[in-house]
Subunit: 614 residues, 2 copies
Amino acid sequence: MTFRKLKKIERPTPADIDIAQSVAPLPIDEVAAAAGIASSELELYGPHKAKVRLQLLERLADAPDGHLVVVTGITPTRFGEGKSTTTVGLSQALGAHAGQRVFTCVRQPSQGPTFGIKGGAAGGGYAQVIPMEEFNLHLTGDLHAITAANNLLAAALDARMFHEATQSDEALYRRLTEKPFSLVMRRRLAKLGIDKTEAVALSPEERRRFARLDIDPDTIAVRRVLDVNDRFLRGIRVGMAETERGHQRDTGFDITVASEIMAILALTTSLSDMRERLGRIVVAAQRGTGEPITADDLGVSGALTVLMRDAIMPNLMQTLEGTPVFVHAGPFANIAHGNSSVLADRMALKLVGGDGYVLTEAGFGADIGFEKFVHIKCRASGCRPAAAVLVVTLRALEMHGGPEGGVRAGAESNMARHIENVRKFGVPCIVALNRFRDDTDEALQTVCAVARAHGAYDAVVAAHFGEGGAGAVALAEAVMRACNEPHPPAFRMLYPLAMNLRDKVQVIAREIYRAKEVTFAPEAERKLEWYESRGYGRLPICVAKTQYSFSHDPARFGAPTDFVLPIRDVRLSAGAEFVYPLVGSIQTIPGLPTRPAFYDIDLDPMSGRIVGMS
Amino acid sequence: MTFRKLKKIERPTPADIDIAQSVAPLPIDEVAAAAGIASSELELYGPHKAKVRLQLLERLADAPDGHLVVVTGITPTRFGEGKSTTTVGLSQALGAHAGQRVFTCVRQPSQGPTFGIKGGAAGGGYAQVIPMEEFNLHLTGDLHAITAANNLLAAALDARMFHEATQSDEALYRRLTEKPFSLVMRRRLAKLGIDKTEAVALSPEERRRFARLDIDPDTIAVRRVLDVNDRFLRGIRVGMAETERGHQRDTGFDITVASEIMAILALTTSLSDMRERLGRIVVAAQRGTGEPITADDLGVSGALTVLMRDAIMPNLMQTLEGTPVFVHAGPFANIAHGNSSVLADRMALKLVGGDGYVLTEAGFGADIGFEKFVHIKCRASGCRPAAAVLVVTLRALEMHGGPEGGVRAGAESNMARHIENVRKFGVPCIVALNRFRDDTDEALQTVCAVARAHGAYDAVVAAHFGEGGAGAVALAEAVMRACNEPHPPAFRMLYPLAMNLRDKVQVIAREIYRAKEVTFAPEAERKLEWYESRGYGRLPICVAKTQYSFSHDPARFGAPTDFVLPIRDVRLSAGAEFVYPLVGSIQTIPGLPTRPAFYDIDLDPMSGRIVGMS
């Protein structure tokens, strides 16, 4: 591959956007060619972004997979501990400095928060994905496709309820069958056990069953989405215009990345698999029968697939040192699994080949992101991590250790437990201690020693933020050693899918969070039973829990043990294929502060250069 | 240019999507090179779409402009009379058959209706823009960018009102000035006449004036938008979640193309012009003072520009016969001017050069689309049409003539008046009679004769739908003759901008619609006065009126004269730069029928081919 080391490093480290704009990106077709992507597999989106066609997987079907390395972290502070930065910096070290074949797979960030509080998510300092403006904004439109698809599904649901409420069985059936049964209608006929192909052949009872979804409004599971920090859309009442004749309903918007369609994009393995998953999305239950009503039943799943046809292709970008990056899918870590796409990982593993490395990031701390990476993503992808990198900062350890215990206590509690958790899965855990300017060598070495004492494969200080790939060479070497161990530990899941949903939640709560007990609210109990009875009992679990503590209480640092984990509610992502219990309340669309980031974001009209983005 | 005639024509004409998928598109970089676009000016979006950089206008600043030909139509039926088809077919005729340099500029269609009732808008039959799926779906994301920008503006407005309602002057000012005054804040300071650069320097009174926009909720002019046919969003109540503490408000969504930002995209002439226009959008009036509150005042206009940075570049596609097409901007003809972008026209005129032709389509009938093309778009662009093509069908003339008068009466009333109207502007009018399968030669020739008798420059039968460019060669020849007349008529506007708003409305109503009188509702009167008093009196007028009649009553066919045009309300697009009177009620977001088009749209998962789109 044709990487290039950074030419010039400034101190103190300049602003992210200034560093990002100071390096001219390589033409993306050159990055692609160096990574082994054929030009017929590439769809350019401007000079610095491209989509890669899935046919690459067919061409490389027999190629050996590279080593998959997952980057995770300890329980973070509100500032984040630099997982993305480490993922990118390690990639630069492996590629541009250690001469290895390497690919980095990261999540696409939500666009809305760029204009609110949070800065971008392209890494930081001298470890970034570039161009960072394009990374943080539209990219190639995947988030927009999800918004369009999700909202078509929601519109189809409300329109269908309206038409059912205002038309007789006969009129409804007549209008639905104005044209011959379409592909998706035949799916509904099959589900109903009606083996007829002509609309006229159905009996009145069959017509009624076909045409009346009879959706129970209290069970509706679909909300609309927008990729905007719009707090006033959290709770809304729709249908208030006269044309809707009083058919009002209370609902709300989530941020786009919280859409189930995003989780589907992240977990799907092919176009036909995506088609099936989209069709299986459960939008509500039928009144009386409790039968799940799906996107297939609404007749909209083919159209959703068409809207998502391009989004399924991973997006190719590059790091500051020219190593290739797939940016693909960014499911909301609060209510979904928070991992980038299965397809990007699979393609990258083939592209780097048997000796190469693929780095992929798992959102939040290892109690959430890494656990879901294994139990949900690895199950969907069939891939196995060769090693995990646990990102640690002194700042976070200090918080966990508290005013009395300090860094050492934080390391011995929070970090040690994350190391232990990772090792439960049979995955070697390498601690990457992200160096900050004021960190002392002594404190850093103490933490490394604690990490090794608690079972870390190795622990190294990394300085990629201020130095680029050169600052993460020691980390790269540790990763390479771990991946090439002659006798690696045996990888394992902590629960089998055959276990019932309740027990699976218990396993995660006890083994990973270390709760002494789990309680289920009556609503949660009821839904779990319903899921089991409708055939969703074999899905994995995706707990929606705060990232700021092993427990459900964000104020409990360190390694709490004496808590009871309360499951307030559970939800189903039948298309993405997981059940997600809610622990506490989860905000699914952020708001704007009094001075949002947008005040500082502007465009130099002469150069077209974006200013003020961070 | 390297065009290629269609190889095979089938009869009867196959479905649009089958024709579209039967022709392999040329690589878009070849189309670009043939059209004279430098590779450094091209940003590919996959193999068949590209954006063209505005720097092309600098390179070709001194090149002569080609002939600008605007395609318009008579008052249409509900099926449409084929303006897009004619625009595309004429392009194929001029380029692939008559050997001329030609460029076609069309609007980007709304994505939402593709899944509702309406079919695509890429032309039809053997006169289409391809790939038609990409034309009708995401294209290069311009509509998505508008959705994002419009909704960021709306979120900023509601969030600001919330923060003002829940914070003291002091707290508000302190939070707003946590960071130094940004570029956009300095605009507000300048507007308020405060000549200070440090936050601490402002007096308490100046701080209050700076921080309190004090928006009058009854005057809010911004609605949210989505590109989805979602009738339940027409009227909504926002702010119903507990976190918004009871600050509820009734509002609604429009379809994305109805956003003022779309109209701005269509009328802007450069990146810096777009920045200024976005900043000038009036979102509401201040309580008490009635001062217009703008996107600049909200501090969000720089961010809006950043979101629209790529959307400003026209999108290059091709016709079935390989002639180049710009697809750029599609302002909702119901409430905006319904014309494609000024930038696409300007670039195309330079690219074809002095002897070439640029075809551009104006939405709706000539009473609306052509009038706005001249008074709004030509004012913004500075371009002048050399000729207008008036699209006519026997079907529409029959409707206008009624059961007794028939086609001839329809031609002598509706068509004749449109010809007369076009000629009022000093533009030669060529009638293109769109041939349908069952049309008789006799009827067609009758209409041609009537057209010539009523002042048409020429009238020809066109059969591009069934024959491609070969079917529109006679039309192409008529257009070429008209554009090369040695003594062309003098182009003129029907009203000067200096005229007051009321009088401008009167001119359009009397000269174009032929109303005998215009009435203004009190609300309309009040607003017109407010606009005049705030400096918006010099804007052009964009009447929002039904397209199905010269009058405001869609049931009045032919050429009515004895009607009073009632102006119910008026609105302001200060960024797009027009005032739009509302005649009757305008639906700004469509709904889904009982069997929407999405039932038939699906994806062949094996080939990835889209099926069922029309």
